[in-house]
Structure formats: structure tokens, C-alpha cells
């Protein structure tokens, strides 16, 4: 279980998170939605321990990752898989090399087992036989799939997805979402996803949390969010333009 308590973060004078609270149930897919630049990725970077808050806590099964350092933080991170917005694939390695990297370096598996698991992971994301290509030689959608394969190959308990479908066409968006759903059913990880793919994410989320002005404006199952009377939520999920002042 992940519990975010009164998280506050400012960059200079810009207040990004203003006392945010969020609970993520074990084994669920929780999607954080909200406007661009609203602090979704900042929240995610706090969850994975890449940013320290000004105040508040992030508890992962009781351990406060905002207070942990060094080996203690690494122990928590060993349970994580992260799919970054741009994939963050190592461009000096092939796709297979990228997927093999955490197996070799994090789990220290033997070469034969690494090869077997890499092949299986690439097949799982529909990229069998593409392992020898470099990230620069494959399409954006393929890069996202390699990133998903790399994040999941170590079978982590918790997986974070930072806008995994940004910049993809609608068919690829659905393909990636269904891939995540299928892998989630198979591997039963806890997923926290940041996205603004409306309405596609309602098909895969167990819980949707709407981030607005540094706080969670509303949280609940997709059906509740879709039927929400909250004007902020309604405006966002319907994609209504902002009204000009005084109009």
C-alpha cells in the first residue's frame, strides 16, 4: 500500500503540490489525471524518491521514502519498476541490452537466464526478434514497449508509469493500455500511472485521482469520476476550454 500524506512541494515561488493526500491500494491500477504542468510528474518523482518534498510523507508499506537515503532507499526501489515519459532507454545499448540491464546488474542473473528472460519479455510486449535494434532505430511506440519490458522484466511489486502513451497515435495508445492491463492481470503488480488520456484510461484504471491546484480534487472508481458533479473534474474529462475572465 502506498500512502501519500499532506505532500507539499514548491520550486522557487511556484507552489506545485499543496498538501496532497492519496492512497494507492495494493494490486490496483491507480491513474492520476490532471492538466499539463499541474504536478502529476512531480508527484510521481516523489513516489519514486527522485524528489524530496518540502513537507509531507510518502509511505510505501509503512516506510517513508521521503526520509530514506542510500541503501534503505535502494531496498524500497528494488521493488519498483518505472516507465519514464520518454522511455529513458540507454541509447548506447540495443533494445535487448536495455531489457537485460536490470537483470544483469540488479538481480545479477547468469547470462543464459538473462537471455531467456529478455526474449520472453520482448515477446510479451510484441517485439520478438527486435532485440538487436538500437532505441534510435525503432519507432516511438516500440520504444515505449521496450521501456515497459525493461520495467517489468524484474517482476517488480510496484510499477510507475509516467505518461506512457504521450505522443502516440490513438491506436498505439489503446495498444499500450491493453498491454499494461494484460501484464497487470498476469503479474499482479500495483500500478501508479500518470496520464491525461481521456477517456481511454477509464477502461484500465481501478481508481482515478484528479489532481488540481496541487491537491487531489476527486478520487474514486472510473464510473464515479465520469459521473462527478465537480466542475473541475467535469471540465477536464469533457475537455471543455477555459472561460475567459468576465465572459
Amino acid at each position: 500500500m502506498i500512502k501519500v500524506e499532506r505532500l507539499v512541494k514548491a520550486f522557487g515561488r511556484q507552489q506545485v503540490l499543496r498538501g496532497l493526500d492519496l492512497d494507492v491500494a495494493t494490486g490496483s491500477i491507480t491513474v492520476v489525471i490532471g492538466r499539463s504542468g499541474g504536478g502529476k510528474s512531480v508527484l510521481l518523482r516523489h513516489l519514486i524518491g527522485l524528489l524530496r518534498p518540502d513537507a509531507g510523507r510518502v509511505l510505501v508499506d509503512g516506510a517513508d521514502v521521503t526520509r530514506l537515503h542510500g541503501r534503505a532507499l535502494d531496498e524500497v526501489r528494488r521493488r519498483y519498476g518505472v516507465v519514464f515519459q520518454g522511455g529513458a532507454l540507454f541509447d548506447s545499448m540495443t533494445c535487448a541490452g536495455n531489457v537485460a540491464f536490470p537483470l544483469r546488474e540488479k538481480l545479477r542473473l547468469r547470462a543464459a537466464e538473462v537471455a531467456t528472460r529478455v526474449e520472453a519479455a520482448l515477446t510479451q510486449v510484441g517485439l520478438e526478434g527486435m532485440g538487436s535494434k538500437y532505441p534510435a532505430e525503432v519507432s516511438g511506440g516500440m520504444r515505449k514497449r521496450v521501456a515497459i519490458a525493461r520495467a517489468l522484466v524484474t517482476e517488480p511489486e510496484i510499477v510507475f508509469f509516467d505518461e506512457p502513451t504521450t505522443g502516440l497515435d490513438p491506436i498505439l495508445v489503446n495498444t499500450i493500455h491493453h498491454l499494461i492491463l494484460e501484464l497487470h492481470r498476469k503479474l499482479r503488480f500495483t500500478a501508479v500511472m500518470v496520464s491525461h488520456e481521456i477517456p481511454e484510461i477509464f477502461e484500465i484504471a481501478d481508481t482515478v485521482a484528479m489532481l488540481h491546484e496541487g491537491r487531489i480534487a476527486e478520487v474514486g472508481p472510473p464510473a464515479v469520476i465520469q459521473a462527478s458533479p465537480n466542475p473541475v473534474v467535469r471540465q477536464f474529462i469533457r475537455g471543455e476550454p477555459e472561460r475567459a475572465e468576465g465572459a
Binding site: L50, R77, V82, F84, Q85, L89, F90, P102, K106
Partner: protein, 264 residues
């Protein structure tokens, strides 16, 4: 509670104070970064293949520029020093003059400057791009130390390659001086090399060695640090690369002076 605004007369002092604190903090981060890297070098696991890759990256790829600049530096030295020595009737000392200039001073400094321009800038750009494309964050969240994978192998490779590049620069430079002094200006081969053996001793070679070793640490430290702390986007990478080359070059010259005053 809101802070009371400072009186106008105190504001310049406030600005100087803030600037000084920011400077000291930056220096602290810079020093801590080296401390972390050295600590990582001394603790297992040792990333052997990353180290070999960095030797290739810093050393092998700088070979051509070292051979070219070393050769021409020796030739220019040969030409200029010969015409100066001729005025005093001491052209027989051309060999030692070229060799001592190269081994003690020009070899370590110019080789370090050349490697900075060729490999140091590339190192900053590579790590900077890894930072802005979240590749370094990817390493961190895998519970793997980016310092161990990117910085420690580079510093170790700097320790190995800089003395080797300097030795090569010196050897090619001495041969360049030979080409001009002996083949072009007619000095005897025996005089050029014989006098060199009489005047150049181990302490001169060790001076050049210690200098090149320390330049290896300085350049890889500065260049990896600038890559790690890069700003945003392509502009940030461009600025970090320029800063790395400028700071490395200045530090090489400043440190060379201090080493020159300390070493025999």
C-alpha cells in the same frame, strides 16, 4: 509572517552574501561529487567493461589529435629554439631544450588541453544528454549508482589515459623536433639525442607524470560533474559542455603552476 524589506543601503551586501553562499554551496557539491566518485572507486563492484569503454572513449579516440598536435608542437619548438640557441652558439642543446620543455611542461599541459577539447566535451555532452533524457534517473530508480556506472570508470580511465597520452605527445614531439633540428637544419643526430640523455633525468619524467595524472582527475571530474548537473534541454547541454571545457582548461593551467612550484 512576512519578512521586513531590507533598507536600500544594505541590499548590495545582501546580494553579495547570497552570491557568496551560493558559490560556497556549489563548491561543496563539486567537492562532494569527487568524494563520492573516489569512494565508489575504492568499493566493489568494479565495473571493468565500463572502465575499458571509457579508456577507448577518452584515450583511443584522442590518439589522432595527440599525434598531430604533439608532432607540430615539437617541430615549432625545434625551429624556434634552434634559432634562439644559434645566437648563443649553443645549438647543440636543442635536443635537451625540446625534450625538457615537452616532458616537464608542454606535453602534460597541451595533451590535457587536447583531450579536454576532444573527449572531455564529449563526456559532458553524453552524460548531460543522459540526464535530460532521464537515463540517469532510470539507473537511480533501478537502485544502481550512476556514479559507479558513469563517473568512477571515467575518472579511473583518466588516470590511465592521460599519462599515456602525455607520453605519446612527448615522444612524437621529440621526433618532430628531430625532424626540424636534424633533418631540416642540419644538426647531427648524435648531438640531438646524446645531449638529451645527459640532461633529462627521471625527476623530469616524474614531474610530467604527476602533472598528467592530476590533469586526468581534474578533467574527468569537471566534465562528468558538469554533465551530471546540466540545465534544461539542448541549451543546457551546450552551456554545460562549454563550461566544462573552459573550467577544465583554466584548472589545468592553474594546477600546472602549483605543481610546477611544488615538484622538483
Amino acid at each position: 509572517m512576512t519578512e521586513r524589506p531590507l533598507p536600500l543601503a544594505l541590499r548590495p551586501l545582501d546580494a553579495i552574501g547570497r552570491w557568496a553562499i551560493a558559490g560556497v554551496e556549489a563548491l561543496g557539491r563539486f567537492g562532494t561529487f569527487l568524494g563520492q566518485a573516489l569512494g565508489t572507486i575504492l568499493t566493489p563492484p568494479f565495473k571493468f567493461w565500463a572502465f575499458v569503454d571509457r579508456i577507448h572513449y577518452i584515450g583511443y579516440r584522442s590518439l589522432l589529435i595527440i599525434l598531430l598536435t604533439g608532432g607540430f608542437t615539437g617541430m615549432v619548438l625545434g625551429l624556434q629554439v634552434y634559432f634562439t640557441l644559434v645566437r648563443f652558439g649553443s645549438e647543440a642543446y636543442l635536443g635537451p631544450a625540446v625534450a625538457l620543455s615537452l616532458i616537464r611542461e608542454l606535453g602534460p599541459v597541451l595533451a590535457a588541453l587536447m583531450v579536454t577539447g576532444r573527449a572531455g566535451s564529449a563526456l559532458t555532452a553524453e552524460i548531460g544528454i543522459m540526464r535530460i533524457t532521464e537515463q540517469i534517473d532510470a539507473l537511480t530508480v533501478m537502485a544502481l549508482s550512476p556514479i559507479r556506472y558513469l563517473v568512477a570508470p571515467s575518472i579511473l580511465a583518466g588516470l590511465v589515459t592521460f599519462p599515456l597520452m602525455t607520453a605519446l605527445f612527448d615522444a612524437v614531439g621529440i621526433f618532430g623536433g628531430y625532424l626540424v633540428g636534424v633533418e631540416l637544419l642540419g644538426l647531427s643526430q648524435g648531438t640531438y639525442f646524446g645531449e638529451m640523455q645527459s640532461f633529462v633525468d627521471l625527476s623530469d619524467i616524474m614531474t610530467g607524470f604527476w602533472k598528467s595524472l592530476s590533469f586526468g582527475v581534474i578533467v574527468t571530474w569537471v566534465c562528468t560533474y558538469k554533465g551530471f548537473t546540466v540545465g534544461h534541454g539542448a541549451e543546457g547541454v551546450a552551456k554545460a559542455t562549454t563550461d566544462a571545457v573552459v573550467l577544465s582548461s583554466v584548472l589545468i593551467l592553474v594546477w600546472d603552476y602549483f605543481m610546477g612550484t611544488v615538484l622538483p
